[in-house]
């Protein structure tokens, strides 16, 4: 008698968790490391800062410590220096990022071409970005030095200046000077981001357009720009946020001076916390900065998404 080869249906043991549940568990598991990292280093401090902003917490006046509710926020609204720093922050951020973007785009277009020594030029272009901020600040402080700095010397020799200018000591010139330094430092960021974007665009698109008779500028406007839009948006948003919050250049070069000419909100927060020892108010400033950035990002994303859906 032939043995039957037919398979017999056997009941499989049911796993404890359904596939869906196991998936969810894995997902959450993968999120645990990042939760621990950020929980300890950001979330907890942010919550603590929000909590601190509701208190009068001046370090050398422990007897006045107490809950003031929104008192710090009211004080912020009346604080002239705060509004000045807000204005300075906008000038600093938008001045820097706009010029960085233009410079970076030009650089990206140049680096996108093929020529001998491209690796060298690309590395050289990256240098201002990979060097620590302190180095950038110190190098440019040396360049701006009124008596031994090369900038004054060159301008004097060219005859564009009659007297030596103290770039970082003049309240009208200090902000443009630090913005110039920030632009030097930030151009590489945009250059590589945009270069990456340019390299991802297929040549065939340009070929097809050329065959159709499109000129260089037309190809640029109708192919390059639209395809680069996502990168431009991400890069610009990131850079704006970063520039708003990180003040190491200003901290090292001018400490917010002279006369608050280069004082931006994040350096003001630092001063409030560590020179005035007013941690409650510093926390308030930080929370406000955070809110401003959130509003900016939401608006920015909405506007750019609106443009995208319109085209």
């Amino acid at each position: 008698m032939a043995r039957s080869d037919a398979t017999v249906a056997v009941a499989l043991p049911r796993p404890l968790l359904s596939r869906r549940a196991r998936e969810l568990a894995t997902g959450y598991l993968y999120l645990v490391p990042v939760a621990v990292c950020l929980g300890g280093t950001i979330v907890f401090p942010i919550l603590k800062a929000m909590h601190m902003s509701l208190y009068n917490h001046v370090l050398f006046k422990p007897q006045e410590y107490g809950f003031v509710g929104l008192g710090n926020y009211a004080r912020l609204l009346r604080d002239e220096t705060f509004w000045l720093t807000l204005w300075n922050s906008f000038v600093w951020v938008f001045g820097s990022v706009a010029l960085q973007f233009v410079g970076g785009f030009a650089a990206a277009l140049l680096l996108h071409q093929s020529f001998r020594g491209r690796a060298f030029v690309r590395t050289v272009t990256l240098l201002p970005w990979i060097v620590p901020g302190v180095v950038v600040a110190l190098v440019w402080e040396w360049l701006y030095q009124p008596n031994y700095g090369v900038i004054n010397d060159v301008l004097l020799r060219l005859g564009w200046l009659r007297d030596r200018v103290a770039w970082l000591s003049d309240p009208g010139l200090a902000m443009p000077a630090v913005i110039a330094t920030n632009v030097w430092r930030g151009v590489p960021f945009f250059a590589i981001m945009l270069l990456a974007g340019l390299q991802a665009i297929h040549d065939d698109l340009y070929e097809a357009a050329r065959v159709d008779g499109a000129s260089v500028t037309e190809r640029f406007r109708h192919i390059t720009l639209p395809l680069l839009r996502p990168i431009i948006i991400v890069a610009t948003a990131t850079r704006v946020i970063w520039t708003f919050n990180y003040a190491d250049l200003i901290f090292v070069m001018t400490s917010g001076g002279p006369a608050n000419a280069t004082q931006i909100t994040s350096t003001y927060t630092l001063v409030t916390a560590y020179t005035n020892l007013d941690f409650g108010y510093a926390a308030t400033l930080s929370v406000v900065l955070l809110v401003i950035m959130l509003v900016f990002t939401v608006l920015y994303l909405r506007v750019t998404r609106g443009i995208e859906s319109a085209t």
Partner: protein
């Protein structure tokens, strides 16, 4: 671990020799037989925070610490060097986190602030039994006394005077400043010293840092003003505004100051004079050794501040203190180290090397100080020196830095008039009288 000690001593000597900080003769105190320190186990090391690290100071303070560690075997002193710009921050952060150093070297105007945080060790009772209590000049004790409590040791003291270039005065045919020179003579000298075609300026005014306001205040006092009168803030008086206008006009109108003034802190004015950009500047004796390096001991001298209208003048006296903290891990060790630093040899070495004056009379009377021309301006100013009026309230120390100086800078660059600055400044002071 002991190898590290030997190695670091060699490195230290190399650094000292390389920086030329200590003349061969001064090394004599170090040549005493070095007994390898036996490390004590179990006792917490004393952390001593020291700010203002120049190569000279680092070498010196390290050698002080090592000498002390040699002299006793109960515990070890470890020096933590911090750039002055961050020293106050570090201390505050340490105090707030309940982990301050055991002792530190700080200026007297910071001590009040730390005392307000309840962090400073009260030395009053111990100090009165200390052997050199009477040797320290009373005014030095005054700088570290708050509400009747003695909070620190005044390690070195100094006041303000004017540095001037003797060689250039001779070259330009300028009459040397006399000890009792007036504001007008000061202005004339500054003008004569200003040669824009050579990139030279008469007076290196200070625009940054606490003392920017203090120097201006000294001029205001010379004009008859006062910070406090009858317990009320009086810095916004008419005399103060006139005095301040005169002082600021040196930069604003008469242009006898270099354009970098608004951001010139210590470094700016010391380097400016040292490199020959300015020919006069106001400072304490602490930069005299630097200037001996920069321009040479024969090229400069010091003279008291000029007399204002009414033949008045004042020089602010202040001290660099040794302060201990309440929450320190080894308070006894801190006391022993601090009092040791006030002993003859250590204090003399520290003062002489750095050009500062000892707070103890017996040491200050030594010829090394009284006969040196670089100190003349300061020694002659002692009779009319007073403790800085801004030490009166603990809350004022930080406010000078955070609000006084930015306001002053605004006045310098013309955004505020002298009167407006004084009004706002008076407000800040009045609000923080605690």
């Amino acid at each position: 671990m002991d190898d590290r000690w030997i190695l670091s001593r060699r490195q230290l000597l190399k650094t000292m020799a390389a920086s030329g900080a200590l003349a061969a003769a001064d090394l004599a105190w170090w040549e005493e037989p070095l007994v390898r320190p036996r490390r004590a186990w179990g006792a917490a090391p004393v952390r001593f925070q020291f700010s203002v690290p120049e190569p000279k100071r680092t070498a010196l303070v390290e050698s002080l610490a090592q000498r002390f560690n040699q002299s006793q075997t109960d515990f070890e002193v470890k020096v933590e060097f911090v750039p002055q710009a961050q020293a106050r921050q570090k201390l505050i952060a340490g105090i707030a986190a309940n982990n301050p150093p055991d002792c530190c070297q700080v200026w007297d105007n910071w001590v009040g602030e730390f005392e307000g945080m309840g962090a400073v060790e009260d030395l009053t009772s111990r100090v009165r039994d200390w052997k050199y209590y009477k040797d320290v000049t009373p005014i030095a004790w005054q700088t570290v006394t708050l509400k009747g409590k003695i909070l620190s040791f005044p390690w070195v003291v100094t006041n303000d005077g004017v540095y001037w270039r003797t060689d250039r005065a001779a070259e330009y045919g300028i009459k040397p400043p006399q000890d009792d020179w007036t504001w007008d003579e000061f202005m004339a000298t500054a003008r004569a010293f200003t040669k824009p075609e050579k990139n030279q300026y008469g007076f290196g005014m200070r625009g940054q840092g606490t003392w920017a306001v203090l120097y201006a205040t000294e001029f205001m006092y010379a004009g008859g003003a006062q910070v406090l009168r009858d317990g009320k803030v009086a810095i916004n008086s008419k005399e103060a505004a006139e005095g301040l206008d005169w002082y600021l006009d040196l930069f604003r109108k008469h242009r006898v100051c270099p354009p970098s003034v608004p951001t010139d802190g210590w470094r700016g004015i010391v380097e400016g004079f040292g490199r020959g950009i300015t020919n006069m500047y106001i400072h304490n004796s602490g930069s005299s050794e630097e200037q001996k390096d920069f321009v040479g001991a024969k090229s400069f001298a010091t003279v008291p501040l000029p007399l204002g209208p009414g033949r008045k003048r004042v020089s602010f006296y202040f001290s660099e203190t040794l302060t201990g903290f309440k929450n320190a891990k080894n308070r006894e060790g801190a006391w022993r180290f601090m009092s040791w630093c006030m002993d003859d040899e250590p204090k003399f070495m520290y003062c002489k090397t750095l050009g500062l004056l000892p707070s103890r009379k017996s040491l200050a009377d030594r010829p090394e100080f009284t006969k040196d021309p670089a100190y003349q301006g300061f020694i002659k100013s002692f009779p009319f020196s007073i403790v800085s009026p801004y030490l009166a309230y603990a809350g004022w120390g930080g406010k000078l830095d955070s609000e006084g100086v930015p306001l002053f800078q605004q006045a310098l660059v013309g955004k505020l008039t002298a009167k407006e600055f004084l009004e706002k400044f008076a407000e800040v002071l009045a609000k923080n009288m605690a």
